[in-house]
């Protein structure tokens, strides 16, 4: 099926998530959709699969306009989406998951048979699975399957529903290499059968290996398209496919460093053989020493393990192996309060979810910082602390302003103001995401002042300019792998692009 999205627009409040986006996917091709988190690619495929309704624009299937407003509409047009977290029902066995959702071939014309025909479903499940060499026991419980197997189940279910267009959202995260090979083989087969496949991904490697065409999005707009067959044939250009795509994803040349030298020779943080694990990734950090006064930037596509790394350095996640030492102090597996006492501070990306407490005022937050105190709140003292911080950090708010009423920039300033002094280590996610230039510059001034006092800072950012401007050294995360540290001054776009794409 030929899929065309024409001039799609979608707003979420003030955010223009899709700005006049057009995309054409021809039948029988695999189309990669690339972009940073927040670039608008998820919004776009959710519009196509009916999870989000568009503000304007048209969906055209095989030349006919299609009215898609709900996932059920999308299924009627034979569009199926494989979500990053498989949409299954974990306590149920595989075969019941397979039967959930309408299976036209098993339920007669109206698609609404009353009784379950488990035997027919099992036959169909086995024949479809065999076609793609998937090997799942239909009687197993879904909760016992790996992410890769749940994905296979979902693909088979969608095929049984007769999808002609298959959308996959980050399908290669958290699955094994052999499962990935199997998945790619299945996708190639499906495209040869004339189905159109949309492959949403962060991973340049995978896109390079699999896709026929690539569309790159940034800030809600399409910023580039590339036919990979043509590009592969045309080897005259010296830039690799990965570098060209990275250039499209992040835009222009990298900014030059602006940070003064603050790095000393003393070691602030020492990681030794560190291995982290979450449900999707195993992250092999290895060994790393961060110096006092140093700023270490973490580049990489989002969800490559940066957050686990920061949480582990903050004492909020226990490593699977290895040790974390702060100066001479071994903090591995120590309770979180010990980390706080050692002068570690973590500033999360989602300020109102993980950092500040909506419903409490600025002054309340300053009182909470004295949380080892008991007894009565000293109002005069906490009021003075809040007023002083508001003046020093130029926060546009009053002591009795609820934090959720502050703008993003002022929330971030409040978080900085709340950090205790002195600190040995600050960990930040996207320190200036969503902030205006003035706040961004101000926040980095404050952070650099901390570095001059000997604090080490580790921050993750999806803004490569920010990383190049403010880091002494840079490490790159890609799908759980971690590069060696590089001096920021010596890095080039091409190097960075290769590394972010997983080549190091």
């Amino acid at each position: 099926m030929n899929v065309e999205l024409r001039h799609i627009n979608k707003h979420f409040g003030p955010v223009h998530a899709n700005n006049d986006v057009s995309l054409t996917v021809e039948a029988g091709t695999i189309h990669g959709l690339l972009g940073e988190n927040g670039a608008g690619k998820s919004t776009l495929v959710k519009i196509l699969s009916g999870f989000i309704t568009r503000d304007s624009g048209a969906i055209v299937l095989d030349g006919q306009p299609a009215d898609i407003r709900t996932p059920a509409d999308a299924m009627r047009y034979r569009i199926g989406m494989l979500h990053q977290d498989p949409l299954d029902f974990p306590p149920l066995p595989v075969i019941e998951n397979f039967m959930a959702g309408s299976l036209p071939s098993l339920q007669g014309e109206d698609g609404g048979g009353f009784f379950l025909n488990t035997r027919a479903a099992e036959r169909e499940f086995k024949s479809l699975s065999a076609q793609f060499k998937f090997d799942i026991d239909p009687r197993a419980d879904v909760s016992d399957l790996t992410v890769g197997e749940r994905q296979q189940l979902e693909i088979v279910r969608l095929l049984a529903c007769g999808v002609g267009t298959l959308i996959l959202d980050e399908p290669t995260t958290g699955i094994s290499a052999s499962q990935k090979a199997l998945l790619f083989e299945a996708l190639r087969t499906l495209s040869k059968q004339g189905r159109s496949i949309i492959f949403v991904s962060h991973k340049l490697e995978d896109v390079e290996a699999l896709c026929d065409e690539v569309t790159v999005m940034r800030r809600g707009q399409v910023v580039g398209e590339l036919n990979l067959h043509d590009t592969r044939r045309d080897s005259s250009g010296h830039l690799s496919i990965a570098s060209r795509i990275v250039a499209m994803m992040f835009g222009k040349e990298l900014a030059p460093p602006v940070k003064p030298a603050t790095r000393t020779d003393d070691i602030a943080l020492h990681l030794d053989g560190l291995i982290l694990q979450d449900d999707r990734l195993t992250i092999d950090v290895g060994s790393l020493a961060v110096k006092r006064g140093e700023v270490l930037g973490i580049a990489g596509l989002e969800g490559s393990g940066q957050q686990d790394f920061l949480l582990a350095c903050a004492g909020l996640q226990s490593p699977a192996a290895g040790s974390v030492r702060l100066g001479d102090l071994d903090l591995t597996h120590k309770p979180y309060p010990a980390w706080l006492n050692a002068g570690v501070s973590y500033v999360p990306a989602d300020r109102l979810r993980d950092g500040l407490i909506a419903g409490l005022t600025i002054q309340d937050h300053f009182a909470l910082r004295l949380s080892n105190k008991g007894g009565f709140v000293n109002r005069a003292e906490t009021l003075a602390a809040a007023e002083q911080a508001i003046a020093t950090f130029n926060i546009r708010g009053k002591p009795d302003t609820f934090v959720e009423r502050l703008s993003g920039g002022n929330q971030q300033r409040a978080e900085l103001a709340l950090m205790p002094t002195p600190l040995n280590l600050i960990l930040m996610e996207h320190p200036t995401r969503g902030l205006d230039i003035e706040s961004t510059v101000y926040i980095w001034q404050q952070l650099i002042a901390r570095c001059q006092g000997g604090t080490a800072i580790i921050f993750a950012s999806s803004d490569l300019d920010e990383i190049m401007q403010y880091s002494d050294r840079v490490i790159v995360f890609s799908g759980g792998r971690v590069s060696a540290p590089f001096d920021a001054a010596s890095l080039t776009v091409d190097q960075l692009g290769q590394m972010i794409g997983g080549k190091f």
Binding site: D354, D364, L368, L370
Partner: protein
């Protein structure tokens, strides 16, 4: 032609919901075949007509205040502590246990002076409530069970224990009955205002508990941390607040106050253990605290109003041939619409 409705202030929804709830209550009364004016008159008469009735209002108010004060802690910690009923029951069982020890069957006088026996009984009730509250807390905080189900399950367990005791080890000499254990000797009864059911000790304890609750929630680091944990558990933890300890403390404090309420039901009102010793006042306290949006300052007037409704409605079957459960309908409608108004105000209300 296109019209847009002007943005409404949050108060529009709150007041609107209140007005609708009053309308609905009037409608229910009319459908039941009565006139709202006579019903109100009858209820006022039923609650305040004579000293006995006034005494009954205060006898209801005391445990209601104690439970509501306890629930302020759990609600502000973000917990729906439906286990408050069971905590009352366990408090009552513990108090009964102490009073039976103090005055064994066949004895002619209390082993210890009655004021000490009663004091120990109230203390035992508080301890029992704390343990039962902590049990719910352990199930929730460490066992990851929803505190709602943990509380409800423990309520059944507590009621089961009470019934077992009433029909088993503590049964009346001769015949066991649903009417409860053998009443205590009159020397172990808490003193009352005149011949009414209201006991000064219970009222004083309740008012002190409420006053302390207001002070703790508004003025102390403990109260602030509790609110922080209730509003955002994750961020509180990142900020370094010992979240689990805060949650367990909330369960313990609520259990303490509910347990004391249960002990007072035994020592001051029923003078024996009965199966429904809580009189469902724990659930009523949940409604009170939800209606005041967890702010303890407004608990006293609302709890007083609800107590008067409960007692006043007892008159309805006699005077107007109506069900006394009308009080429950009124309380439920008020709370549901207050919550609805608050929800709508949050969703659609524009700040002026």
């Amino acid at each position: 032609m296109r019209t847009t409705s002007p943005p409404q202030t949050p108060n529009f929804y709150r007041v609107g919901a209140f007005v609708i709830s009053l309308g609905l209550i009037v409608l229910v009364i009319v459908l039941a075949g009565a006139s709202p004016v006579t019903v109100i008159g009858s209820m006022i008469g039923g609650a305040f007509g004579n000293p006995d009735q006034i005494g009954r209002v205060f006898a209801t108010l005391s445990p209601l205040l104690l439970c509501a004060a306890g629930l302020v802690f759990t609600f502000n910690a973000g917990l729906y502590n439906l286990g408050v009923e069971g905590q009352i029951t366990i408090g009552a069982i513990a108090a009964t246990f102490v009073l039976r020890l103090a005055f064994p069957e066949g004895a002619t006088a209390s082993i210890v002076p009655p004021p000490i026996a009663i004091g120990l009984a109230i203390l035992a009730g508080g301890i029992g409530g704390v343990l039962w509250g902590l049990l719910a807390g352990v199930l929730h905080v460490y066992g990851r069970i929803s505190e709602i189900f943990a509380g409800l399950g423990l309520n059944f367990a507590a009621t089961g224990l009470a019934i077992y005791l009433i029909f088993g080890p503590w049964k009346r000499p001769g015949v066991a009955s649903l009417s409860g254990t053998q009443p205590f000797d009159e020397s172990l009864w808490l003193g009352t205002f005149g011949n009414t059911e209201a006991t000064p000790v219970a009222l004083i304890l309740a008012l002190v508990a409420l006053a302390l609750t207001i002070i703790v929630m508004r003025r102390t680091y403990f109260g602030l941390r509790l609110r922080a944990v209730g509003k955002n558990l994750r961020a509180s933890y990142v900020l370094g607040i010992p979240a689990r300890r805060q949650l367990m403390s909330a369960f313990a404090i609520c259990g303490l106050l509910a347990g004391v309420a249960g002990a007072l039901q035994v020592a001051g009102l029923f003078h024996r253990l009965i199966p429904n010793i809580s009189s469902n006042l724990g659930f009523l306290a949940l409604l009170v605290v939800m209606l005041v949006n967890f702010d303890p300052v407004w608990i006293l007037p609302v709890a007083f109003f609800f107590s008067a409704l409960n007692v006043g409605s007892l008159q309805l079957p006699l005077s107007l041939n109506l069900e006394s459960s009308l009080a429950g309908v009124i309380q439920g409608v008020l709370v549901l619409f207050a919550l609805l108004g608050r929800g709508l105000a949050q969703k659609y209300g524009k700040r002026a």
